[in-house]
């Protein structure tokens, strides 16, 4: 689930004011008040809200916008829910690795909300990988290492080590 850290990252990246976000006591789901005074709840919802309130326009085509949304959903339904009770971590990493084979960012040629969200969602998973596994998911590793260099996106998350030379193949 969305930690505050990643919402701050989203706000900073899109140069939006960060504020008014509250987290539910039960499961820490964030909520925020919209312009017309309504509360909306949900991590992608809040993140999207922040990104649209920012000065930086995403400038995406409809197709790219849809792709971003799809990866946000993937983060919430797959990445956040892999591990103990269902989707194997390896499946998620394999899928992302395959997808990123020929890509620098998830959508288009610059970081989007999808990159921010997946980076934050994957951090805990990647931090537990051995160097050998990181090498196995080399495209995920490459993408991750690239994203984490941007301190706006990384915020206070730890910089994870990657080896740039292949040690195991």
């Amino acid at each position: 689930m969305a930690g505050e850290v990643e919402l701050v990252a989203v706000a900073e990246y899109f140069q939006a004011p960060y504020g008014g976000v509250t987290f539910s006591k039960k499961d820490q789901t964030p909520s925020v008040k919209t312009k017309n005074g309504k509360m909306v709840t949900g991590q992608t919802t809040v993140a999207k809200h922040l990104s649209q309130a920012g000065k930086v326009s995403s400038g995406l085509t409809l197709e790219d916008q849809a792709a971003v949304e799809q990866w946000l959903e993937y983060r919430c339904t797959q990445v956040d829910r892999c591990g103990h009770n269902g989707i194997p971590v390896s499946q998620v990493l394999q899928e992302l690795n395959l997808y990123l084979t020929d890509k620098v960012y998830f959508v288009t040629h610059h970081p989007t909300l999808a990159d921010i969200f997946l980076y934050h969602g994957l951090h805990k998973i990647i931090s537990k990988l051995t160097f050998q596994e990181k090498e196995k998911y080399v495209h995920v590793s490459r993408w991750f290492d690239n994203i984490q260099q941007d301190t706006t996106l990384r915020q206070s998350l730890q910089l994870l080590p990657f080896s740039r030379s292949s040690l195991y193949s």
Binding site: K26, G42, S163
Partner: protein, 976 residues
């Protein structure tokens, strides 16, 4: 736009409905149940919209909002509200609805428990619908389409109908939705009016969405860190499943085929007469250059005495040079490997002041320490000396005079920082400040640790005296300079020659070239110090030589301490050489004139300019036929886990601690070389060490050798049987020869890391060979089969013998153990270009025993904790709670409270407030100590505590999740 879907897929309802609303015609393409459409997804996801060839949308909700946007139905996409419902549907509703649908239509048995899970979801829906009539607004929106689409199949189920019986708003909404033509046509298209059963196959072939796990409910990182412990205790299924495969799969892989000629050639050399096989050369001291042989002088950067070397220092120079020199000896080159401690310089003097002893005492102490460490690591120097000797003074002064006479020494007055408090000029490391080049605020007077560039102390911003912390002021003083610009043409000519002929790692070249490209400047070689080689020139006799002028001269003086015939190594005569004797491309000029001695420098990248620019310039300028560097093998840095080795923080393994870890020196050697930072920085990781030991050494190498020898011992009384080569044996020999060739090439190129892989490949080939032939089956069969079994294991014993030799540079002790177990004669210790039969039939082997020990995760966990260093995150200061921070000022701070409940879970505001206060208090304490000019050690300890507190604060604010990991282990470590 193509829409791929299987028949009866309920998710397709919402997609088709959205298409209708948007007025977009999607090209619906039927695929079979469970069809894989999206190439990068492991599971079938349907429906999928292919927006344009190769671009897929596999989330039904995304497709809905995309289609509506595409059809300019902005009204249906009312911003955040819609988004919120789409998210709710996919993360909350679907994980309940889909499993329920699977139970109802897939298995024909409704699960009542699941039905109960609908209650909170439905009441949430009911509440929203009551106020608006529709989900996001008073009109139909994408949210309604998405949620209704997921709801539709449920409406076909009686128990579910019961569940919504009393929810009037939902029921009104459902009938409103059902009356919409777009919905009607979509439903009809998917269900073909066949009722709920139509969903069955599709439901069973699609992945079931997973709900939020209760364990990750606490979303904040601080809270989530609670789970870290349980996960690291038992490796999660995904991490344990993947790494093992590499070794266990391989025996099944069929061996590669080699051409027949290659195999025959391998057989021919294999069957060579044992009397003609090459034998090793005895090592007799003193080793001197020999004509018509390859004479190699190997130096490894002289370790500085003021500190204990860490694993990164060890792999950086002495260990790398050791592997290479052991290899060279096995190749029968004539070589001399020298090293020693570098003892002069400001760092020694400051260290001596710190410890309250004379510089000489410091040097004696650390020289002994270094010697012991290298002995433990089995670094096989021909001579390990030191720079504080009579010879050093003589040779350094001689080189100085030669340079002086030839006009390469300049005199100049410079401004130097002078500390009024200490009444001395502050050379190099006596002064610290902000780097003028990169702004790093803890740069030393001679070099910046952050950007690695050399700086002049006078250029430092905000300089401060290292001893008294006062601000020094510039004063004019006379100094000597070596005129590098004048020497540049000679240096360039030399470098051009050795670049072409020698092994220069790319970092060595790059650093050297950038120095030359930036233009060489006169370099000051004298210092206002006592501890150093005295400058012999009149008027400068109260000064000593700059450590980087005379440290590389240490190579020469250490050789002179080793043998009085040192000039044979260092005053390099030219000789006509037969190019055949020379493995690397010789630096042959027209007359085939060549130098007798080739010098290899092994060093870390930070030492490159001193060895490739300053030292060669001085030697060339002295014009006394000195041996000048021909090859330079520089390493990058080795990090410790994800941080740096740091003595002050206590993070990382230092040379003197290694032997207390219970892990044998050979394992360290193997691992350090496996991760040797050749082309970029690498990391020492305990987990990785465990993996390498258990997978490569234990399961691959150790397994092969032990299996072969045990079998030979148990079934053939340890006697090598006649080896009759069959076709696949010949293939094996040829494949081994290929690896052997690569091993040699890699070694010659200074790629020490790659050669390890060749060794492991050979033992992998051996394992495959054993696995394919199954001697344990053959031995129970007919006499012919038994004979074959003997042949197979005897060949394997010979491969083991080869492995023992190839392994020797890396793991000398293990190599010796294998040779004892093989009862192999010492004459096998030669690395030839091809594999020979070194253990002939009739040879009796010794007693086999396992070569490697398994390393347990618990051991690694303890070691990780032990070497994690001070600022590890557990709440170290809870025990000092309430006490003024300055009251615990003495000595190194004890790293962990130990009495703190580590799993306190979520951290409350009070804790944050308390820590904030602590940080402020500690910050003031440090400032006070600094103004009061307290002892450095005291200040450092307090600063460390401050940093620790800051880290805890970050943790408490939920900002640093990963830092929580070592906390559980910390306590364990303390108990021991």
């Amino acid at each position: 736009m193509k829409l791929y879907t299987d028949s009866g897929n309920f998710q397709t309802i919402k997609v088709l409905a959205a298409a209708k609303f948007a007025g977009i015609n999607v090209d619906k393409t039927d695929v079979s149940h469970g069809a894989h459409v999206v190439p990068y997804l492991k599971e079938s996801r349907l429906p999928v919209l292919e927006v344009f060839p190769g671009k897929f949308l596999f989330s039904a909700n995304t497709v809905v909002s995309y289609l509506l946007a595409k059809g300019s139905q902005q009204a249906l996409l009312a911003g955040d509200e819609v988004q919120q419902w789409l998210e709710w549907e996919s993360t909350q509703f679907a994980p309940v609805a889909v499993p329920y649908l699977v139970s109802v239509f897939g298995h024909g048995k409704a699960e009542k428990d699941l039905l109960n899970s609908f209650t909170p979801l439905l009441s949430h829906l009911e509440k929203k619908l009551k106020s608006h009539g529709f989900l996001a607004d008073k009109e139909v929106s994408a949210a309604d389409i998405a949620v209704f689409g997921a709801m539709y199949p449920l409406l076909q189920d009686k128990p579910f109908q019961g569940a919504i019986e009393k929810l009037t708003a939902i029921k009104t909404w459902i009938s409103a939705m059902q009356s919409l033509p777009a919905i009607q046509s979509a439903v009809e298209d998917v269900t073909q009016n066949k009722g709920g059963a139509v969903f069955k196959e599709s439901l069973l072939s699609q992945p079931v969405p997973v709900g939020p796990s209760p364990a990750t409910g606490g979303a904040k990182d601080a809270a989530a860190s609670k789970n870290v412990k349980s996960q690291s205790a038992k490796p999660s299924s995904s991490t344990s499943a993947t790494p093992k495969s590499s070794t266990s799969e391989n025996p099944e892989v069929p061996m590669e085929r080699v051409p027949a000629e290659e195999a025959e050639a391998a057989v021919k050399s294999w069957s060579a007469d044992s009397k003609t096989l090459p034998t090793p050369v005895q090592r007799k001291h003193p080793i001197l250059p020999v004509k018509d042989k390859r004479n190699i002088l190997i130096t490894s950067a002289l370790p500085y005495v003021n500190n204990v070397p860490h694993l990164g220092n060890i792999i950086g120079c002495v260990l790398s040079a050791d592997v290479f020199s052991r290899y060279c000896r096995l190749r029968k080159y004539n070589l001399l490997y020298i090293c020693g401690t570098d003892e002069y310089g400001t760092a020694t003097e400051t260290k001596a002041l710190e410890e309250g002893v004379t510089p000489k005492q410091i040097c004696d102490k650390y020289n002994k320490l270094h010697t012991e460490i290298y002995e433990w690591f089995n670094i096989d120097f021909d001579y390990f000396g030191r720079t504080t000797t009579k010879q050093q003074t003589e040779i350094a002064q001689d080189i100085f005079w030669k340079l002086y006479e030839k006009g390469f020494i300049l005199k100049d007055s410079i401004e130097q920082l002078h500390c009024a408090g200490c009444d001395k000029f502050l050379a190099d490391r006596f002064v610290e400040g902000t780097c003028p080049l990169c702004g790093f605020d803890d740069a030393r007077g001679d070099q910046c640790d952050s950007c690695g560039r050399l700086i002049n102390a006078i250029d430092l911003r905000n300089p401060r005296c290292k001893l008294c912390q006062k601000t020094p002021s510039p004063r004019v003083t006379q100094h000597l300079f070596v005129d590098l610009p004048k020497l540049e043409p000679q240096l360039k000519a030399h470098l051009d020659k050795v670049y072409a002929s020698g092994i220069w790692t790319s970092n060595a070249r790059t650093i050297t070239n950038s120095w030359i490209r930036d233009g060489l400047k006169p370099r000051c070689i004298s210092r206002d110090l006592k501890w150093g080689t005295p400058v012999p020139l009149e008027g400068y006799t109260d000064k000593v030589f700059y450590v980087w002028f005379d440290a590389p001269i240490g190579y020469i003086s250490i050789t002179a301490n080793y043998t009085d015939k040192w000039k044979e190594w260092w005053k390099n005569p030219k000789q006509a050489r037969d190019p055949k004797n020379c493995l690397t491309v010789c630096m042959v000029d027209d007359t085939h004139q060549d130098y007798l001695v080739e010098m290899y420098n092994f060093l870390g990248k930070d030492n490159v300019p001193f060895h490739s620019v300053i030292f060669p310039s001085c030697l060339l300028g002295a014009d006394d036929n000195y041996t000048v560097v021909g090859h330079m093998v520089a390493t990058e840095y080795l990090n410790y886990e994800d941080t740096k080795f740091s003595k002050s923080r206590g993070s990382g393994v230092f040379g003197d601690q290694a032997k207390d870890t219970g892990i044998p020196a050979d394992i360290y050697r193997f691992y350090l070389l496996y991760v040797r930072p050749e082309s970029q920085d690498t990391s020492f990781s305990w987990d990785d060490l465990l993996l390498k030991n258990n997978s490569e050494l234990l399961n691959n190498l150790g397994n092969f050798i032990n299996r072969a020898l045990m079998f030979l011992s148990n079934n053939f009384d340890g006697v090598i049987q006649p080896i009759e080569l069959e076709d696949e044996d010949k293939q094996l020999l040829a494949l081994i020869n290929r690896e052997l060739t690569l091993y040699i090439t890699n070694m010659e190129n200074g790629s020490l890391r790659d050669s390890i892989r060749n060794i492991l490949s050979i033992s992998r080939l051996g394992n495959q060979f054993m696995q394919a032939n199954k001697p344990w089956v053959l031995v129970k069969g007919s006499p012919a089969e038994k004979k074959r079994a003997g042949s197979v294991v005897s060949l394997s014993a010979n491969v083991s013998c080869l492995l023992s030799v190839l392994l020797q540079p890396y793991m000398p002790q293990t190599s010796a153990t294998i040779q004892t177990q093989l009862n192999a004669p010492s004459t096998v210790n030669v690395i030839s270009d091809v594999i020979y039969c070194r253990l002939p039939p009739g040879h009796t082997i010794g007693k086999p025993s396992p070569l490697f020990q398994k390393i347990e995760t618990s051991t690694i966990a303890e070691l990780k904790t032990k070497f994690a260093g001070k600022p590890a995150p557990p709440k170290a200061d809870d025990k000092n709670k309430g006490k003024p921070a300055a009251a615990v000022a003495n000595g190194p701070v004890s790293p962990a409270g130990g009495d703190v409940s580590a799993g306190s879970g979520k951290i409350n505001e009070a804790e944050v407030a308390r820590l904030t206060e602590e940080v402020t208090k500690q910050g003031n304490a440090v400032r006070e100590l600094k103004t009061a000019k307290a002892e450095k050690a005291v200040v450092d300890a307090e600063v460390a505590k401050l940093l620790d507190l800051k880290k805890q604060l970050a943790l408490a604010q939920g900002l640093d999740p990963a830092a929580a990991a070592p906390s559980s282990g910390k306590k364990k470590g303390k108990k021991k």
